[in-house]
Amino acid sequence: MLERLQNSRNALGLLFLLPAAVLLLLFLTYPLGLGIWLGFTDAKIGRPGEWIGLENYSFIAQDAVTQLALFNTLFYTVVASIFKFLLGLWLAVLLNKNIRFKTFFRAVILLPYIVPTALSAIAFWWIYDAQFSIISWVLMKMGLIHQYIDFLGVPWNARISVIVANIWRGVPFVAITLLAGLQTISPSYYEASAIDGATPWQQFRHVTLPLLTPIIAVVMTFSVLFTFTDFQLIYVITRGGPLNATHLMATLSFQRAISGGALGEGAAISIAMVPFLLAAIMFSYFGLQRRAWQQGGADK
């Protein structure tokens, strides 16, 4: 009797999983394997590839543009993630205060995250326009600069510009999720620490941060993951230029594989992201989890 129930459960379980499993196996698992295989071939668009072993990888390892793209990706991820974290945490703390129109603020602040990135990136492209940038206009009127800034035409300007756009888009996600974490912290901790004479900064440092660490770990893992593999912002604002200064691994693999037709090489570049990606995830997740554990917080 029990066995029959168990059996039917298994059968039913498989049946219920079928639609999701078929789609994911065909369009996710299989392509993932295919991508790894393609990385070892010289496949071009419209021509199946021959196995060439590690040739693509040894090529990209020596390719100056790929090296630059890797540097850009790491720089982009580290700088943007740090700022997203700091600004997101600040915004979350502000929203957690006893303020008016709380729901309104919360709703409005998420907008950059909701709206299609490609479309808001176009707005940034216009805001950064070399001749008509509103930022340059304001700075000129304030007398801070004497000529319009070439935001996207100079390598370091362009890097910073796309990072700013990425931060703009990412802060809402971090802020709203951390706000949810803040709201689960019981006010009694703050009352108790206030009785003991803790200053607001001490409360933040010794109550808020330790209790928030588990959720910070999760949020930052997601944030790092999405920043590292970002494509849209770069593709829309700079297409990797000027002089490949803003190419990320994802945009470079698109350029080589789809625009350039070298599927194998492009696949190798995108597969080359995986070890870095895993390292970044491990770092942000386990690094932060471990800190929580060392501080004696986070019993989950």
Partner: protein
């Protein structure tokens, strides 16, 4: 004792009694945040209705429109395939969302409630699938799409979007199903209800908030999707809105900023509109799925 109460009181009083301090420490930074986060939208909107001579002038006040014009909007609607892109995006998003949601409900119920052998591992696999970024998948996926003869069709997008929608929706719904008491199901089982009846009559009605947040998420994610739509579709009449605006409204060296911004604005409005109705579901879904 009384001394301690005093400190608490004064600490509390200080906090409430200094509106000036609060204005500087809380409202001012908050106002700057809101300004910066919303400015690009304002700039989009104002550019969309500015005549070209105002757009390309460095004099006057750029923050306002002196002589609003609908020229850019007219150009967008009648001289480009914009309405077609909008329709494609709606179609692809709605269909992909619907199928992903249906598949996710079954998958989440199976993993969370049927407890078949291996349910845990499948649950973990689903979560890992969510972590696979589209920018690693799009190259091999393009060749799969091509092999299946789906290149340059809406079906290619409808079938590939679930790869990121299903893991997310399943994960989110698993959380919702977990919050529904087992006892309800056991009672129904004893009364002779089938699993199907339990799912449709008990679980789904109770999971409506979860279904709404998963649906909104799936819809906005599909609406935002860019790299698959850019790679798997090449004809103008099949393109989705973000891709169409980025690839077709930018012609050579002359940028029609007015039309571009109008395109960006009207492409953002539908998701912003739907989101504004379901903010609570969206936020709870977002925070819930991360906290799991």
């Amino acid at each position: 004792m009384s001394a301690k109460e005093d400190t608490v009181d004064t600490a509390g009083m200080n906090y409430l009694d200094s509106p000036m301090r609060k204005a500087v420490v809380v409202y001012l930074p908050l106002a700057i945040f809101v300004f910066v986060l919303l400015f690009p939208f304002y700039w989009m909107a104002i550019t969309a209705f500015k005549p070209n001579n105002e757009l390309l002038s460095r004099d006057g006040n750029p923050f306002w429109v002196m002589a609003p014009t609908l020229d850019h909007v007219r150009k967008l609607l009648f001289d480009t395939s914009y309405p077609q892109w909008m329709w494609n995006t709606v179609l692809v998003s709605v269909v992909a969302t619907f199928f992903s949601l249906a598949a996710s409900v079954f998958a989440a119920y199976a993993i969370e409630r049927l407890r078949f052998s291996g349910a845990k591992q499948v649950g973990l696999a689903i979560f890992l699938a969510y972590l696979v970024p589209p920018s690693i998948l799009f190259i091999p996926l393009a060749s799969v799409v091509f092999q299946l003869g789906l290149f340059d069709t809406r079906l290619a997008l409808i079938l590939t979007y679930p790869t990121f929608l299903i893991p997310f929706c399943t994960w989110l719904l698993m959380g919702y199903f977990r919050s529904i008491p087992f006892e309800l199901e056991e009672c129904a089982l004893i009364d002779g209800a089938t699993r199907w009846q339990i799912l449709v009559k008990i679980i789904l009605p109770l999971a409506v908030p979860g279904l709404i947040s998963a649906g909104i998420f799936a819809f906005t994610l599909s609406w935002n999707e860019f790299i698959y739509a850019l790679t798997f579709v090449s004809s103008s009449e099949i393109k989705t809105l973000p891709v169409g605006v980025v690839t077709e409204l930018v012609e050579g060296d002359v940028y029609h900023w007015g039309s571009l911004m109008a395109g960006a604005l009207f492409g953002s409005l539908p998701v912003a509109f739907i989101y504004s109705f379901f903010v609570e579901y969206y936020v709870s879904g977002m925070t819930g799925s991360v906290k799991e």
